[in-house]
Symmetry: C2
Subunit: 210 residues, 2 copies
DNA sequence: GGACTAAACGGACAAATGTCCGTTTTTATT
DNA sequence: AATAAAAACGGACATTTGTCCGTTTAGTCC
């Protein structure tokens, strides 16, 4: 026996944990629910809960895993089927999908960021998590495409930086602030991202191709 | 008696707390030092410590208050004495000063962000803290100046958004990652900020004033 | 079915954060 | 100097996170 399946009891417990967490989160808000309470509600021990999920962030990660997978697929699919479009439009499209996703899952995503692990650099930071890497990579490619269209070479990892900058602006906290603190609509926020990250690039492109 | 001064014993305790915290932070790293330990080291009770500083973030805030004040003054002074320069150059200058400051205080600033309070929008978030407001305001003014130079009107709060975007990219965590995770030098990071936030604006400007 | 092993269990325990409240000290007033 | 109110004190306590380890259970092999 080389690779064992997840044990039946373990699988059942995970379902119970996820369901209990979801219910409690909905009822009392993510921040107000302790791990202890989730374990109690699910009828499992502390250790059982913690062995599976090292912290609330891990748990949230699993809670949004399905939706994240779908998000990832949507983005990948969009990129494939829009391959013929201009990279600017595609950047705009991806940004729109990110914002839709954040709008949908903002509360859980915010917890992820806060409880996601170390602050120190290296593995364990958000910057090395698969979701971050995935989106960062998508942005890097798009930016490189845009630069290529404009015949502007990429100065040693410039696109890498810009992708980080975009990701930073996409943080759920800021979205919260714009959406509810300042009362902007989702569409208004998308428009701002477009104006700043896409249209400026587009302007450059127009000028560069003259 | 209308306004009382801070009591003598309280003032002394605050000094002891700050000094103890600073020493312990230096010795063991900010994350490794508990509030309990700081209280013990300072020879005061838990309650005394917590009444003054609601959490470690508050304490760090006080620890960097002096340096923040100086930073603020440096920025204000720079803006005054560079009033004749182009807004692009001034934006670059301010960005440089921010990065210098982050580089200097990265560890404490990172704690501030993590432990700074609520995630929910409204007062209590980073976005409403005086330091954030101050820098955000500085960026808004500079961006408006740039737009004015280019004869581009500011579409309803566009500058506000861009300022948030810049602030987001200035988060200590990302700086850490670039600096130590990816091994970039401080100057390289400054160069990236300049290239993305200043030179692109400058390119636009050149084109717009043709 | 019996036995063995790896995985999972769960609750006690440790450590940290943050609160509460009876007690002490400072300070202004007389 | 006595007094009283305001402010500060401090440690016990509650809550939460996270760990440890002896015990139980599912899956496999015979």
């Amino acid at each position: 026996m080389q690779l064992r399946e997840e044990r039946k009891d373990a699988a059942e417990h995970r379902q119970r944990i996820l369901q209990s967490a979801l219910q409690l989160f909905r009822e009392h808000g993510v921040e107000q629910v302790s791990m202890h309470r989730i374990a109690k509600q699910a009828g499992v021990g502390q250790g059982t809960l913690y062995r599976r999920y090292g912290n609330k962030g891990d748990l949230c990660m699993d809670l949004i895993f399905d939706s994240y997978t779908k998000f990832k697929e949507r983005v990948s699919f969009y990129l494939e089927q829009s391959a013929a479009e201009s990279p600017d439009m595609r950047l705009d499209g991806v940004l729109g999908q990110c914002i839709d996703y954040i709008d949908d899952k903002a509360d859980l995503l915010a917890v992820l960021r806060t409880l996601g692990g170390d602050q120190r650099p290296g593995p364990g930071t958000v910057y090395h998590s698969p979701p971050y890497r995935f989106m960062h990579d998508v942005f890097v490619r798009l930016i490189l495409e845009i630069k290529q269209t404009q015949n502007r070479p990429d100065g040693a990892g410039e696109a890498e930086f810009v992708a980080h900058a975009i990701m930073a602006a996409l943080c759920p906290d800021l979205y919260f602030e714009l959406r509810f603190g300042q009362g902007m609509s989702k569409e208004q926020i998308k428009e701002r991202f477009r104006a700043f990250y896409v249209e400026r690039a587009y302007t450059d492109q127009v000028n560069a191709t003259r």
